[in-house]
Amino acid sequence: MRSKKRLLAICQNGLLAVYSVFALFPLIWMVLLTFKSDAQMFDTAFVFTPTLENYKAVLLRTDYLRYFCDSVIVSFGAVLISILAGVPAAYALARYDFKKKENVAFQILSFKFAPEILVVLPLFMIYQKIGLYDTYLGLIWVYQLITMPLLIWVVRGYFEDISVEIEHAAQVDGYFWWQIFLKTLVPLIKPGLVSSALLAFIFAWNSFTFPLQLAGIKVEPVTVAALKYLASDTVHYGQMAVAATISALPAIIFALLIQKHLVRGLSFGAVKG
């Protein structure tokens, strides 16, 4: 009985290990490649003399830093606007009982499921007409389809978790509704707000379909730019790996920071976790 149990545990650990290799080895391999010179790329696997040449080449001799900054500006801008407009909306959807409330909430959620190409095709035309094509503002605006539903739905859930009594108490103390909002509620939802903002940032950062068609000359996020390293005639695999590594890094760091709230964010508040 005991040995059977041990065998089962070994099997379970083994299966988990197999999947872990599948999930994590590509990332480790990618990081390894960044330290390999072009010459060693072809005939070595794990033993080689590490070099920083690829990093120097990508960061100093290409426009990669500019792409990186573009990604930062666009993603940060998108999240900021979503917070300013979305947090009050989330509050209203959590607290007030108004007509068509659930319709409004579902309308906002439905943006999440709309095919991105459907937005991109007509928007390409509109943006060129009104001068938003290939601008920061244009991308920040269209990114609202990614960041706003996430923020509103997740933050709404956190507001719903706060007892109404707290607000009543603040009301009795003579605060105005917006004072109650800023001084008592916002501090309470802060962890949830920060984590959903970071997750929204990751999603905006990883967006590809929107910037592929709606920008790409003056404004070019890393996701779109990374493909260039793949398509160029002289393939420098090491530089490709550097481009991929640096662009994946912020998202992975942020994900580590928000672990506890990740499930809630990923499921838009449907799973409280």
Partner: protein, 320 residues
């Protein structure tokens, strides 16, 4: 005369006293900015319907109203049905594998409570945070026939130059594999949260009754996990039906039309062949399908959630 008493709604946050007009419209005012920002960007949806009835092209200055011609041509075109077939295959393979694998790994993680599994609970999320495009680049580096580690590994077994994305027969498998790599952690995370929220008492009484592990899983775990499974399915299936980034970065739909799903076909028709009007019916069709499916799954999720919460409350009541 009978004094008119204004009807009050009870339960609102600050409706303790009679709400003046300003308080009644306040919620709408608060929601308005968010709605304006997002609806502004939704104007394209309405425009898409209109332009699907025209011969609009990005190159030509004029266009004409052509009625349902674009729609009829689409339904007659073999490439449309081909795209539907590719979309369905891609979505069902990737979602199906992700659900089964994700459920399995989540059960393993929930069952094992050693240091290894605790580290993996965190580390396994990493692929999900990598942009699908970047993930595709990473896998192209892995599978590359001259520098890829997978090639070197396969050489040991005497397999040389496995074609991966370059061949008709293996391109779909390759794309699905990348999709699974990126998105399986999503299922794992959700199901694991579900497992951790399960009430303990039914499992304890099942232990006394001496049910087998498989019986417990089928009769207890799975039914109570249902809401989590539906949510996972909803998010994954809707995304897989419209997958664009992975396929675009991998082969742009090739080789030939092997990976031309509806999104890629619409993109090519609109931007490569400049037939904007003709590209829109494809994507509008996809939108309708996704919308209907999403509603169906969301309804099931709500029903499952009601059932599960009812059940667990009963059982908690018995235990207490």
């Amino acid at each position: 005369m009978i004094p008119v008493v204004p009807k009050k709604k009870v339960g609102d946050a600050d409706n303790i006293n009679a709400p003046p007009l300003s308080a009644r419209i306040r919620p709408y005012l608060i929601v308005a900015p968010a709605l304006i920002i997002t609806i502004g960007i939704m104007i394209p949806f309405a425009m898409a319907i209109y332009y699907s009835l025209t011969s609009y092209s990005f190159r030509l200055p004029d266009y004409s109203f052509v009625g349902l011609r674009n729609w009829i041509r689409m339904f007659q075109a073999p490439e449309f049905w081909r795209a539907v077939w590719v979309t369905l295959r891609y979505a069902s393979f990737s979602t199906g594998i992700e659900m089964l694998l994700g459920l399995g790994i989540a059960l393993l993680l929930g069952n094992l409570n050693n240091r290894f599994s605790r580290i993996m609970r965190v580390a396994l999320i990493f692929p999900l945070m990598v942009a699908p495009v970047i993930a595709t680049i990473i896998w192209q580096l892995m599978l590359n026939s001259s520098v890829g580690i997978v090639e070197k590994f396969l050489n040991v077994f005497g397999v040389y130059n496995f074609p991966w994305a370059a061949s008709h027969s293996t391109a779909m498998m390759t794309a699905v594999m990348i999709d699974v790599w990126v998105n399986c952690p999503f299922i794992i995370v959700l199901i694991l949260a579900g497992l951790q929220s399960l009430p303990k008492s039914p499992f304890e009484s099942a232990k006394i009754d001496g049910g087998s592990a498989w019986f417990n899983f089928r009769k207890l775990t799975l039914p109570m996990l249902k809401p989590y499974i539906y949510i996972a399915l909803l998010f994954r299936l809707m995304a897989a039906l419209q997958e664009f980034s992975i396929i675009f970065a991998l082969t742009k739909g090739g080789p030939g039309d092997t990976l031309m799903n509806i999104s890629i076909t619409a993109y090519n028709t609109g931007f490569q062949f400049n037939k904007f009007g003709a590209s829109l019916p494809y994507i509008l069709f996809l939108w309708v399908v996704i919308y209907i499916l999403a509603k169906q799954i969301a309804q099931r999720w709500q029903a499952a959630q009601r059932q599960a919460s009812g059940k667990s409350i009963d059982e908690r009541g018995e235990a207490g």
